[in-house]
């Protein structure tokens, strides 16, 4: 992954929170080097902010797809391993909060405007649900992908654990979506690498969460 000036500018814009510039520069990096994983992911990431609200589920789907190819591109690049891990770590850290954040954003939008007794629906429930599922499973698969492509290397596993932790956390919150017992399987996997890990429990002191599973 050779350093070019656009990549430096893109990283600078990202650090400054300037998504428009970051997207433009990452696009230029993509044009120069189509095999740049960082540019591929962050271009899709910043494109999420563009356009109308109705396009967000589709764009989020693109980000979920881009993250896998981005990780593979970084792995097959000529960059030193430490640099590869740093890039993958940045990609993963940017991707992990997206599912929860987008879900919150969509739900907030749906509760923003009230006409009469009902709220104006910006996003329909099915698109919110499908985005949640898509994001959740992409996070799980990202962890698995890292485990498989780096063959259980300690640094890669540390990043994979971050993804699995996020998956377990989301699976416990949205317990209707993941296959039954999967969160426990991943919690066990995490515990093997990080013995102090405590799996978050299902919601509420007086809740009916147990009955649904």
């Amino acid at each position: 992954m050779e350093d070019n000036k656009y990549l430096t500018l893109a990283r600078q814009a990202r650090a400054d929170g300037n998504s428009e510039d970051a997207k433009t520069y990452y696009n230029k990096v993509r044009e120069d080097d189509p095999e740049n994983g960082e540019a591929k992911f962050f271009y899709a990431y910043f494109a999420l902010y563009e356009g109308k609200n109705g396009e967000i589920p589709q764009r989020f789907g693109n980000v979920c797809q881009a993250v896998f190819s981005a990780v593979k591109m970084v792995k097959s690049s000529t960059a030193p391993v430490a640099e590869q891990y740093a890039t993958i770590s940045e990609i993963v850290n940017a991707f992990l909060p997206m599912t929860w954040t987008l879900n919150r954003y969509m739900n907030n939008k749906n509760r923003e405007t009230k006409v009469g007794d009902s709220y104006v629906k910006v996003f329909d429930q099915s698109s919110i649900t499908s985005s949640c599922k898509k994001g959740m499973f992409a996070i799980r698969d990202l962890g698995n992908e890292l485990e498989s492509i780096y063959g259980g290397d300690a640094d890669a596993m540390a990043i994979a654990v971050l993804a699995w932790k996020e998956y377990v956390s989301l699976a416990q919150k949205w317990y209707a979506y993941p296959p039954k017992g999967e969160a426990e399987i991943y919690a066990e996997k995490i515990k093997k690498i990080e013995p102090s890990y405590e799996m978050p429990k299902k919601a509420g002191c007086i809740s009916f969460s147990d009955k649904k599973n």
Binding site: E198, K201, K202
Partner: protein, 166 residues
């Protein structure tokens, strides 16, 4: 674009807060007080006797009936505000002693619902308001998918936020 980004950034801040709260909740040490079942049963079984004695005492005072009634009401209030409050406090501690780890770890709030009840019973007066707050906590606040920071007193909320979330 700016508006969507600003809204998503706002949600991202919430996400970071949620992660911090989740970590605190998952790793918190659960207190196990030594209160036994028989102690709670004993405390509650004395309550009717205390109420009876208070009424009997006030009606044997050499004063007018209206004053007798007033003294009786005052004594009953005193018993409820102190003795019954103490009994309820011991009940919560008994729950903390016996409840399974799994059950207690389901609480998504800081402090946990039982700790919240203890703080309410120690610091919120009158008892009726404390009980109402506990009910709201159990049936409304401790639901849903979010981790919540909810102390019965705003001051405690502020102190916790300052210490752990900033």
């Amino acid at each position: 674009m700016q508006s969507i980004q600003a809204d998503i950034d706002f949600c991202l801040k919430e996400y970071i807060k949620q992660r911090k709260l989740e970590e605190i909740v998952s790793k918190r040490q659960l207190k196990r007080p030594t209160t036994k079942k028989w102690q709670v049963i004993f405390l509650f079984s004395i309550a009717p006797l205390l109420i009876f004695c208070a009424v009997l005492f006030s009606f044997h005072l050499p004063i007018a009936t209206i004053f007798k009634m007033s003294v009786s009401v005052l004594l009953l209030l005193f018993i409820f505000e102190l003795y019954i409050r103490f009994c309820l406090l011991q009940t919560v501690k008994c729950y903390q002693h016996y409840a399974k780890e799994e059950t207690r770890r389901r609480c998504m709030c800081i402090p946990s619902c039982s700790e919240y009840a203890i703080i309410c019973l120690k610091k919120i007066f009158p008892l009726a308001i404390a009980l109402m707050k506990i009910r709201i906590r159990l049936y409304k606040t401790c639901r849903g998918e979010d981790y919540k920071l909810d102390f019965p007193l705003k001051k405690l909320n502020f102190e916790f936020e300052k210490k752990h979330l900033n």
